[in-house]
């Protein structure tokens, strides 16, 4: 976006983002960030989906927006979408779209949850919980113990 700055007559003038074409109409800034998209590719990510950088280098770093570079930096440590939206001060919908791009290009992964076998808290059947974390009795027991101890 800086490449065409020399030819921009109204930089910071009218408040209209100059890289949008006029046909785009009165589009608010978040759409500019997502290049006009309102939906991420693929399944919508949950507000607490945890993203983590894969460590892969972007093939064309110049194609990443400033926000995506910041997001990628934050994801060096596993980060939930809600955290990213708050840290980057961007609406959640925008974060979803940007995160979708980073996922597509293999720069981040969704952190998958897998119940760790816990010998102290093994359930009576001995089977690991196969469902989602919020219905895993072992995880809920652990949460309960820790909440009580806070």
């Amino acid at each position: 976006m800086d490449r065409d700055a020399a030819g921009a007559p109204d930089r910071g003038g009218t408040g209209r983002e100059r890289w949008l074409d006029a046909a785009a109409g009165p589009v608010v800034r978040p759409y500019a960030v997502t290049r006009g998209r309102t939906r991420p590719n693929g399944e919508p990510l949950d507000i607490v989906t945890i993203l983590v950088a894969t460590g892969r280098r972007p093939a064309e770093p110049g194609r990443l927006s400033r926000q995506q570079r910041r997001m990628l930096a934050l994801c060096r440590r596993p980060s939930a979408l809600a955290d990213l939206a708050s840290d980057l001060d961007l609406p959640l919908g925008v974060i979803r779209v940007l995160a979708g791009d980073l996922l597509d290009s293999g720069l981040v992964d969704v952190q998958r949850w897998s119940p760790a076998p816990d010998p102290l808290n093994a359930n009576p059947t001995g089977r690991p919980h196969a469902g989602a974390p919020h219905t895993d009795p072992n995880l809920l027991r652990k949460v309960l113990d820790e909440l009580r101890a806070l």
């Binding site: 785009a24 109409g25 440590r77 809600a82 840290d87 309960l144 909440l147």
Partner: protein
């Protein structure tokens, strides 16, 4: 969030300091491994933000109605141009437990026009706290109906405002026509201990519902 207990695990290495980010300094050095959602619902002014703030550090979050609510194809600017967006601000808080477990608390706007957010938030949620004010019990009806329909585990916590009349939990239960298994408790949303008890009660309840009850005071 520092704990005085003796930890069986070796201390975690310090987080790499990232000067640009204003990341949390609550011991979540390695970031969450698994995140659980808890919704805090209730009428306007009932103390949702207060409760979230009592047990966690409040952080602002914006979402946009048009971005999440309107189906528009990728790169379909025609669809976007005509839309007006409403930015919805909400609070959330995070409680970081050991071993990468994080609880995210979302204070959900009570008005019906924000219910599109509820659908998203309640999906896969551990459960919900319905905060009630005895002076305006009817303000909790919508939330209670919603979670009953969704099958989301919930507890009703009556925020005991100083100037409000006190009622016993069983009176509240009757007034709200709650199922006998739904926990009802009195709380003071300003105090961490009280707010924590509400969350403990919710997790106990959720645990009973998934059949993992091995909890003190659990019903047979």
């Amino acid at each position: 969030m520092s704990s005085a207990r003796s930890e069986p695990h070796p201390p975690e290495p310090d987080a790499p300091t990232d000067g640009a980010s204003d990341g949390p300094a609550d011991g979540s050095a390695d970031g969450p491994r698994v995140a659980l959602k808890i919704l805090v619902a209730g009428g306007f002014g009932v103390g949702k933000t207060t409760l979230v703030g009592a047990v966690s550090e409040i952080r602002p979050l914006r979402t946009e109605e048009a971005l999440t609510d309107v189906s528009v194809g990728v790169d379909d600017l025609d669809g976007v141009a005509a839309k007006t967006t409403t930015t919805v601000a909400m609070d959330f808080g995070r409680i970081t437990l050991r071993d990468g477990v994080a609880i995210y608390l979302f204070g959900t706007p009570g008005q019906e026009r924000f219910w599109f957010m509820w659908n998203e938030l309640s999906l896969g949620a551990l459960g919900a706290v319905v905060l009630a004010d005895t002076r305006r019990l009817t303000a909790s009806f919508a939330s209670i109906d919603y979670f009953e329909r969704k099958g989301t585990p919930f507890v009703v916590a009556v925020n005991c405002f100083d100037e409000a009349d006190r009622y016993e939990p069983h009176e509240i239960r009757t007034a709200l026509a709650l199922d006998p298994h739904v926990p009802v408790l009195l709380c003071d949303a300003r105090h961490a201990t009280s707010a924590k008890e509400v969350l403990v009660s919710l997790v106990e309840h959720a645990l009973r519902l998934v059949g993992g009850s091995r909890v003190q005071g659990a019903h047979p």
